[in-house]
């Protein structure tokens, strides 16, 4: 080979090498740019009509038993809730999620939620569609605040949302939705008794309750045991809130050494005794997993109502509760607990395990009578073991079971935007604060790759379509075996957080 040819060949090799390594640098640069997102913004889309396409950021809807694939790969949700996870390569503070969907069965309530904690699987729910509100918007005059809050009035009384908040009507005339309504609730003629009361019915897992304080100490003694059905540790956290703010917290660590024989063991006691509290309603929250049994609660307050949900443990017999919930849901995982529950004058048949049964009542208050325990009771109101201790200090939530006329609701305050219709699809937006989201991280990573979990919920959407379901299948235009569904078109996630410049500034200026 001549010298010229050899030189030419060397130049050729160098050119090729340069081009290829440049491509490598560009690709690596692109990947780093996408991961760092220097402007603090990123957008991911999942088109559900292309179900075979793998999307790293937004995962498929699960569990697959609740998803039905219909024509052209379209995914329909036939039972609720369904979950999807969002993987991000760095931390973001806010997420705006746009859901493109169809609601052919006109389901009254669809919500999307972000997982905030795994102890009690609490989700921060945001509206997708609320049929009750959609109807009220058409029928009642509305005023809007600068922040987008909406006040609906049966008869026009308030000119602005601020007027309403400064001088609110009685609490039993107000309903709220996706809004933290902070009202000052006072019981007229309330006198502290200082008498010791006791709840001896065993309760399983987490619960929350309201109590009322006036010139007295908040005094609650809890005794716990553990069923040891799972091998995880069973920590207990007791939180006290006043007007939405955490004012006291106590923790009880799991004392047991690993036990395999599923024997019930004593898990200790907690005593909440706080003085010098302002008059008003306090919320007590117990966070524990389903292994924990509260054997008894001894307290000196005369008002105590459990909020939304409580799990009566196995062994509880012939118990009567009072509720103001419009809908009473009952569920059990124990075949021995199947029974007929009396709700007012009606019967709620609990005849299958692992399935939720419900009954709708439009009475102001109803009594619930159970023969056996190990039943999870839930609803949109409060539950109390004693007629005299019943207290309902908050406004009602506008959900699928609220009847505004039957419940005497005259005002609705909400943070809600109706979904838009675009090309035959409904398009709704939900915004989430991700700062306190529950995240799963990879171990031993230098990056901040993390995974968050979301759910799509439509209360009552169940492919079983049990006779007790509040949404019986519509007859018109239905084929045999067809079930209620929500068709999901697209999920678009727009994330925003600190930009690279903000992060660098934070390193140099925030550390004092």
């Amino acid at each position: 080979m001549s010298l010229t040819k050899l030189i030419m060949q060397n130049i050729f090799i160098k050119k090729i090498r340069l081009i290829l390594w440049l491509i490598l640098i560009i690709v690596v640069g692109f990947l780093l740019y996408q991961a760092i997102a220097p402007d603090g913004k990123v957008k991911y889309t999942y088109d559900f009509s292309k179900s075979d396409k793998i999307n790293y950021f937004i995962n498929k809807l699960t569990p697959k038993e609740r998803i039905k694939i219909i024509n052209n790969n379209i995914q329909a949700v036939v039972s609720e809730p369904v979950y999807f996870s969002l993987n991000t390569l760095r931390k973001f503070d806010k997420a705006k999620i746009t859901l493109q969907y169809q609601n052919p069965d006109n389901l009254p309530l669809i919500e999307m939620g972000l997982l905030k904690g795994k102890t009690v699987w609490n989700y921060d729910l945001k509206p997708i569609v609320n049929k009750t509100l959609n109807q009220l918007i058409l029928a009642w005059p509305a005023v809007y605040s600068a922040n987008g809050e909406m006040l609906l009035e049966r008869e026009k009384k308030y000119q602005t949302v601020d007027d309403f908040l400064k001088n609110p009507p009685p609490i039993n005339e107000i309903a709220y939705y996706n809004y933290e309504f902070k009202n000052k609730f006072f019981l007229q003629n309330y006198k502290p008794t200082n008498q010791e009361n006791k709840i001896s019915q065993q309760l399983r897992g987490s619960y929350q309750f309201y109590t009322y304080i006036k010139n007295e100490n908040l005094d609650f003694k809890f005794a716990f045991s553990s069923l040891n059905k799972n091998k995880n540790s069973d920590p207990i956290e007791l939180n006290l809130y006043y007007q939405g703010k955490l004012i006291n917290s106590q923790k009880l660590d799991d004392k047991r050494v690993l036990i395999d024989d599923e024997k019930k063991t004593d898990n200790g006691k907690l005593h909440l005794n706080i003085g010098n509290l302002l008059e008003g309603v306090y919320k007590v929250e117990l966070l524990a997993n389903d292994d924990i049994i509260t054997d008894q609660i001894i307290f000196k307050q005369s008002k105590l109502s459990f909020i939304n949900r409580l799990w009566l443990a196995e062994g509880v017999k012939n118990v009567e509760l009072k509720t103001d919930s419009n809908i009473v849901n009952a569920q059990t995982i124990n075949p021995a607990s199947l029974q007929i529950i009396k709700v007012g004058d009606d019967n709620l048949m609990l005849n299958k395990t692992y399935q939720q049964f419900n009954i709708v009542s439009n009475k102001a208050t109803s009594s619930i009578k159970l023969e056996k325990g190990d039943v999870i009771l839930s609803g949109n109101g409060v539950f109390s073991f004693d007629q005299n201790s019943f207290i309902e200090p908050v406004a009602r939530k506008v959900d699928n079971s609220l009847d505004v006329n039957a419940n005497g609701i005259n005002y609705v305050i909400a943070n809600y935007k109706q979904p838009k219709e675009v090309g035959g699809w409904q398009v709704a937006e939900a915004e989430f604060d991700l700062t306190d989201a529950y995240r799963e991280y990879f171990t031993h990573q230098l990056g901040a790759t993390n995974k968050m979990s979301f759910l799509i919920s439509a209360p009552g959407l169940n492919k079983e379509n049990s006779p007790d379901s509040i949404y019986p299948p519509q007859e018109r235009g239905r084929q045999e075996g067809e079930v209620n569904k929500i068709i999901i078109g697209k999920i678009i996630v727009e994330l925003s957080g600190k930009s690279l410049i903000d992060k660098i500034k934070g390193i140099f200026y925030d550390k004092n």
Partner: protein, 59 residues
């Protein structure tokens, strides 16, 4: 023929570079590569080109 061999060799080197750098990136920052690129495909290309380089060298 020589040119093809040279190009294949260069491709082999660069794909080795891709694999090493991507594997390292994926180890320290999970998902950074896999979110956009299927490493299996790169590995298959790398193997095919490696075999072709050996074939051309033999000839």
């Amino acid at each position: 023929m020589i040119k093809i061999n040279i190009i294949l060799k260069e491709f082999f080197y660069i794909l080795t570079g891709f694999l090493v750098i991507f594997s390292f990136l994926e180890l320290v920052w999970p998902g950074i590569v896999l979110a956009y690129i299927n490493l299996n495909l790169i590995l298959i290309f790398w193997l095919i080109i490696g075999m072709l380089v050996l074939l051309f060298n033999k000839k």
